[in-house]
Symmetry: C2
Subunit: 428 residues, 2 copies
């Protein structure tokens, strides 16, 4: 049996403590599976004296993550601090520069600095592994990088922020408005300190940008993700979409098209009987499509102590077993700078309008859509109330440009009140 693999763990929040517990509780299992022991040399965290649910007395304590990263008796630096800048990045760079492999759960850092860090790691012949950065316990990085390595991947999509999916499914099941459920989620501790990271779609977009890089062999391009959060999703639209057989999900989609790399994070409609449509609560789902494999769906807990620690251990075990791969599945220098697609590929759209109770109103709407080249698949007009009637339209497949054109033209008809709502219907 080889020498033990010695870890330095920076960050002792939920995930860090989860990792410590697994290494303590499954020492024999890990040794059997790795052919060597996995041990912890040293740890660090902001507050040494915080009461933590694990015995850390066997480990050296470092005040600084950078010092921890440079210790001679550490083989792998496990970065569980978080944040795209500051101490997490400084310590990661210090670890690489002093010849350590890095395991991290830090999606923000990789989304923003992934290329530079990958180049730095490869220059030192070191690894950065990050299974825990995307979709918690779901093995999406390994599946894409290794299991589907014989495929040209064509599309990756998923529900990758459990808090948003909790809010949307809770709105639906309880019939509550967004603001109420948002407040519930906040009180349950489901939201990040800056909730925009969750409900603004930023956290999920970090993950999407990482997946796109692996899927298409491109440099991670978080800035090019078109992001829309769930703040404008109304209980009305959730209910109307359900009437038409759909669920609204904060869906990330990355695909390589003839017009470039498309990366979108936005509330979309998906059929309620599809795996994505059936996904309730805080669970995550990633759908990967390849030219040989067809469609693979992975589902599991996207956050939490156990699931995220499980993903961190996946990377640690790989390193202990001597598995060494380039950071994004191929050498950083080979990754192409992606050309972002200017617009999304055509899709069906859901439109909701408040139609004034005037003769010929619907005809005017239909004319606007027809003039924009949009044909109607299904239409429903609901009972009148207070002089206006909600109208739902599901279009046939059309371009985002045509929809934008129609949305701009509709108010000029003088027969709709308020702003029309448009949501993309993603083919899943």
């Amino acid at each position: 049996m080889s020498a033990p693999l010695r870890l330095g763990i920076a960050g002792l929040g939920t995930v860090g403590i989860g990792v410590v517990k697994i290494i303590q509780n499954h020492a024999d299992l890990l040794a059997a599976r790795c052919g060597r022991a996995v041990t912890i040399t040293a740890v660090c965290a902001r507050d040494r004296h915080k009461n933590r649910d694990a015995d850390l007395s066997d480990y050296a304590w470092e005040e600084s993550a950078v010092d921890l990263a440079r210790r001679d008796d550490v083989d792998v630096f496990v970065e569980l601090i978080g944040g795209d800048e500051g101490i997490a990045k400084d310590a990661t760079e210090a670890a690489l520069d002093s010849g350590k492999d890095v395991v991290t759960a830090n999606k923000a850092m990789l989304a923003v600095h992934g290329q530079a860090l990958a180049e730095r790691a490869e220059a030192q012949d070191r690894l950065i592994r990050f299974e825990a950065a995307v979709a918690g316990g779901i093995p999406v990085i390994k599946t894409m990088t290794e299991s589907l390595a014989g495929n040209a991947l064509t599309r990756v999509m998923g529900v990758m922020n459990g808090t948003c999916n909790y809010i949307l499914t809770r709105m639906q099941s309880a019939g509550l408005p967004y603001e109420t459920v948002f407040e519930e989620a906040r009180q349950l501790g489901y939201l990040e300190a800056d909730p925009t990271l969750d409900v603004g779609g930023i956290d999920a977009s970090h993950k999407l940008a990482i997946l796109a890089a692996i899927a298409f062999g491109t440099r991670v391009a978080f800035d090019a993700v078109e992001i829309e959060g769930i703040e404008r999703v109304s209980i009305d639209d959730i209910n109307r979409a359900a009437d038409m057989g759909y669920r609204i999900k904060l869906l990330g989609v990355a695909q390589m098209t003839a017009r470039g790399l498309e990366q979108r994070m936005s509330p979309c409609l998906v059929p309620c009987d599809s795996p994505l449509g059936q996904l309730e609560g805080g669970t995550n789902m990633v759908v990967i499509e390849g030219d040989a494999v067809g469609q693979i769906v992975l589902r599991g807990a996207g956050a939490g102590e156990g699931p995220t620690a499980s993903a961190v251990l996946s990377d640690i075990v790989d390193i202990a077993r001597g598995i060494r791969l380039p950071v994004f599945g191929q050498p950083a220098a080979a990754l192409q700078t992606p050309h972002p697609a200017r617009t999304a590929v055509p899709a069906a759209y859901y439109l909701r309008l408040e139609l004034a109770d005037k003769p010929g109103a619907l005809a005017k709407v239909a004319t606007v859509l027809g003039d924009a080249g949009i044909s109607i698949d299904r239409m429903r007009q609901y009972g009148h109330a207070a002089g206006s009637a909600p109208v739902l339209i599901v279009t046939h497949k059309t371009t985002p440009e045509a929809i934008d054109h129609a949305i701009a033209a509709l108010p000029r008809t003088g027969v709709i009140t308020g702003d029309p709502v448009e949501l993309r219907i993603e083919e899943v």
Copy 2:
């Protein structure tokens, strides 16, 4: 860039040709991902002159798979012949003995000879990789062996024979009896030459035994799988189960219990709104549960040229990248001989009886169940026809022994006609 990885491919059926096509069409992609070229040196198959959907003219042709396996210019022997004995096994052994790694899709061979082959491989410091042997394109072997290596796995279950799931879902959607749909499936070419392998649950049990070995660190024990096929599943039970909110699936379940290793393959009820319940047609699904990760669900095509070839390539790429792991995730010598559990863990059960139209009949049935210690969760009696009425019972959680006891006692009440049907309701 290192020297090319040279393959010898034995078996040029659907999967073999799928592998050849990926290697031809994705040569650049594979080279970028592996850091070296992946090439084919030689191939063999039963009939050299069969018309195949691929250009094989660049490859040497061997008449014998054993000779192919021994060629000096082959690094990896790719066994896609099938069958647990005979040429597949002979050639696999020859490959290992002459220092080749082996990639195979052969679930039967591994289920029956997995331990001996693993020992032989490790004695030669060679690999056997078999992602394609279980659930086609779904990366279940890698997920269990690598991604979840930080978990004590607690249960693995799944729908792993697409033909059976096609038959069961088609019976339900079309309201057709088993015999009719079986014949349809035969004519569509969905069935193995020996259909018992499919509908008798044997093929799926081969897969289950392999997954159990990996999950629990035990020697593969196909003989210990308790197998029941789908032949006795009636359209009546499918419809009645649906009335109660369930679907009937041929479900494989492996779990390590205090009473030993439980491996069951049988028609089970699962809630119709669970991922397993929602699985339609030929798709496969594997559910893996671990102490840290919770539940992971993997879904995808379980068979077919592209998906299965994708899984074969996953193994080939790993070998090209220098990834070397023990055959079942830990050294063969460390695998324990499992102690098979004598009976399954308690579960709720579905019972269907034909009750004679006699006063006090239901009371007698209820008494038998009560005497066996079985309590009733839900009961439905349907309209009478021809002197008897179907009665459905969903029990609370009880032991298989109690159910067996009740099933034996029920006919003695004199108030039921025909044989009672009992099906396990699996908690998913």
